[in-house]
């Protein structure tokens, strides 16, 4: 069961700053003695359109925090970030650009 996920999207100078926090153990092979548990895919969408596709590994820190920048952007744009881990668990969060 996925833990809390939180995101903030704010207009900066000419771009939209997106900061997303996710709860996940991101447990390595070494830590789990061969049964790693980590997020593998990350997708960022703006108003339903995919703009970033991320593939990440067990070398990303526990409880990952990512920052992205979107070109332009306007107040109210709908940003969605979703993840999928190596066990098939998923989570997602949405926010409007402030």
């Amino acid at each position: 069961m996925a833990g809390p996920m939180k995101m903030r999207a704010t207009l900066a100078g000419g771009y939209t700053d997106v900061r997303v926090l996710m709860t996940h153990p991101m447990a390595t092979e070494q830590q789990t003695k061969g049964q790693p548990h980590f997020i593998q895919n990350l997708t960022v969408k703006v108003n339903g359109k995919t703009v970033v596709e991320g593939q990440i590994s067990q070398a990303i820190s526990r409880n990952p925090v990512f920052s992205f920048r979107l070109s332009g952007g306007a107040k109210g744009d709908k940003i969605e970030v979703s993840w999928l881990d190596n066990k098939g668990d998923t989570n997602k969060t949405e926010t409007a650009v402030a």
Binding site: K6, T23, R62, V65
Partner: protein, 262 residues
Amino acid sequence: MRAIMGSAALALAIFPAWAQQSPYADYQRMTAESAPIELFELGGEELWKRKQGPKSVSLEQCDLGQGPGELKGAYAGLPRYFKDADRVMDLETRLLHCMMTLQGRSREDATKRVFGNADSPSEMELLSMYVAGKSHGMPMRPGTSHPKEKATYQLGQKLYFHRAGPWDFSCASCHGEEGKRIRMSELPVLFKPQYARPLMATWPAYRVSTSSVVTLQWRMNDCYRQMRMPEPQFGSDTTVALITFMTVNAEGVPYRGPAIKR
């Protein structure tokens, strides 16, 4: 973790003026900007609002010093004297008080698991993150005028220098001289405001080395463990006195937390 550069060599190479500018300034700034703090604040908020205990009541009417349910600035005003308990309390002892009085929980029940871990922070840890977050940016002004507040400060001061245990340690054994460190961590001299301030402004915190939330009650408990002394009771006069001593020494510093630590 395998071979890292030899601490001594690294120290000499990079930190000729040890106590001046921290070599970790960039690291601390960048981690602060991308710390998962809010996740724990959210967890604490949920617990604050959750009905628990035999009375099936939330903590929302808990008086942390600014009035029932008033969270803004509450952490910045702690520790302080509370008339209803007739003692000085820090955040965690006050939360425990509310769990017992408002929610009707027994001390045993409420303190069953006060310190959590990476997989599962404790209730106290999450609540501490949430409440402390509501004081972000505000100057820390613990109570100092009430006679019991003064007495608590003095007890804390005595305890800071009191040597005991099989190794004859006191807090001052490690935190008593400027320019000292353990491996790569600087040891702040907590009876001097210039060192107490940046430290007390950053608790509770998310600790990256253990991926867990740490609070001041935990820190007191763990320091006593490291000094090979008996485990202090959660919220005991000892722990509250030490926390009071250090917080008063830091008086006036804008609260920067909840923070992120190594």
